[in-house]
Point group: C2
Chain length 374, copies 2
Amino acid sequence: MRFEIQAECPATGARAGLLHTAHGVIETPVFMPVGTQATVKGLPQRNLIEDLDARIILANTYHLFLRPGHELIRQLGGLHRFMSWPRALLTDSGGFQVFSLSSLRKITESGVTFRSHLNGDAHLFTPESTVDVQLAFGSDILMALDECLPYPASHESARDAMRRTVRWARVAYSHFQTRKEQAEIASSLFPIVQGSMFRDLREECAGELVGLGADGYAIGGLSVGEPRELSLEVAGYTAPMLPRDRPRYAMGVGMPEELPEYVALGVDMMDCVLPSRNARNGYLFTSGGRIIIKQSRYRDDASPLDPKCPCYTCRTFSRAYLRHLFQAGEILFSTLATLHNLRYYLDTMRGIRQSILLGGFPAFLDSVRSATVE
Amino acid sequence: MRFEIQAECPATGARAGLLHTAHGVIETPVFMPVGTQATVKGLPQRNLIEDLDARIILANTYHLFLRPGHELIRQLGGLHRFMSWPRALLTDSGGFQVFSLSSLRKITESGVTFRSHLNGDAHLFTPESTVDVQLAFGSDILMALDECLPYPASHESARDAMRRTVRWARVAYSHFQTRKEQAEIASSLFPIVQGSMFRDLREECAGELVGLGADGYAIGGLSVGEPRELSLEVAGYTAPMLPRDRPRYAMGVGMPEELPEYVALGVDMMDCVLPSRNARNGYLFTSGGRIIIKQSRYRDDASPLDPKCPCYTCRTFSRAYLRHLFQAGEILFSTLATLHNLRYYLDTMRGIRQSILLGGFPAFLDSVRSATVE
């Protein structure tokens, strides 16, 4: 994998780049739609390509490990083939889900034991095993197993979790290197910087992980319950601790108006369930602000969801029809709403990228900030 | 509306025709996908056109009357515009749903009072009001309010319901004619032949209704619990009672292997929730027979759902992936499965039509029958 920086904003940390993977070139900064169970909920793969031009999507190791299982996916030719997705795939380490979804989890130095949220079966994730699971998937970008704490965390517990994350990252990275010596592997493994909201811990963690010389780095432990300003503050001082010439991935963020903020900090990659989950719940992001489609004001509203949006949903249907679908519990609502919200996110990111390339990012950022204040 | 017969099978009653509507030409025999609440569940409108080339779909008056309401739909420009469907639309009279879904229904000579299954509100459907509701929708084909009995019904109750259906059809037709004199209306109203499984009652009903000189006629009261052979028998003697030069619509049928059977009887139009509902439940129709996707035999099956089917689902995804989506409760399963099942139905009907045009329908019918026996 090769990361090529095309332009940097002289006034902020923002950069525009190209991330070359075995499954295509990803233009950065990039927002990655979440496809937890090998599907972006409600959107056929062809629409991810034809309507959204998504270059990379994310899938969840925890979910796919439990069902249908990584060995089955390997047997069927890997995740790209299994889900008929020809473009790049990133899988998380499973750590976040183990800590948030499964029960009876127990952490030891070697890994974490947990029970499936589906049937209660006991499983063990180790730094090595989650690399192997993700290699079975054939992901383009693998994430190292980390321990992600909720907010707030004490300095002591954050330090312990961070140091374990560092030790696990070393084990994972070494295991990954061994696997690369054994077979032709085009994937990259990203370690994750933890340390909760403590600058000294983030600094220690980043310092240790940078020594691994990985192809890219993630900032984890954000969007775990802290105020949004704090997430930005932490990302703001953590991003510069990471190598300038490698992509930086802020995990699990953020709201549309936050995308340029993270980019301004030097972040290149983001993911979040917000656009897709909110879509299914009837919360829609538009150039005119948030729309809660169930509100009765949209009952007879013949206008498009977002008059400025060129997506199929906005080109074709009225708010009144979308509200009807939502009220009636129709599947089509999820599809149309997800299509729009993701398009809104991806177009926002494309607008950001374009402004960096053209030297107008500071003005772009200002315009988003003043629109948000209004 | 004009019905043009292009070819008739000399050995059976099958015919191929063109039904010219204000929203396009419908090639018959035709299978109409059901879009109950102004959406074919799980399928965006563009896919109904681009993937299925559906020329006409059906929507349910009862459901749309209750939610979002026909006045709202009228205000928003009619059902075509409301749901962004540029092709032909048929709406049922609401009678079937009133009798099967709503509670506390009470039939009088003037109509039927019922309570909404959504909120218990009381409503009244009359032969006139259901015409007006469907005119508010702007449907291309309206159905006259009928009384549809479940199976089995006594001769007496079937006779009473049939005679009421005839009286209501006269009222509806006369009201419809008045409306046509008041405004430019391109729609057609089809009366429905009832009479349960009694030939004398069907004969009496058809005889009365034919006198109305309608643009087309439906055979109702099928698929209400009777054995499938009986449905075919009733359709078999009822179809010839209807004018040769008008389209005949068998409501609510049938299984894929039954499509050519109905066509052989001289039926031109059919609808059924089977392909879409079964799809969502994981029952898939293929050229190799029925597939119940949850079965473990498909767990690692890398082959397409139906190797002979050219639909997006079969061209793109494996049975193993479809099974995974089904097991995981993913929305995408409904979309992909519905797309396939409807394509299977529509392609079956197109094959039937082609065989009639080419003079090979009897052989086509034989091949379906021998495949079904196997």
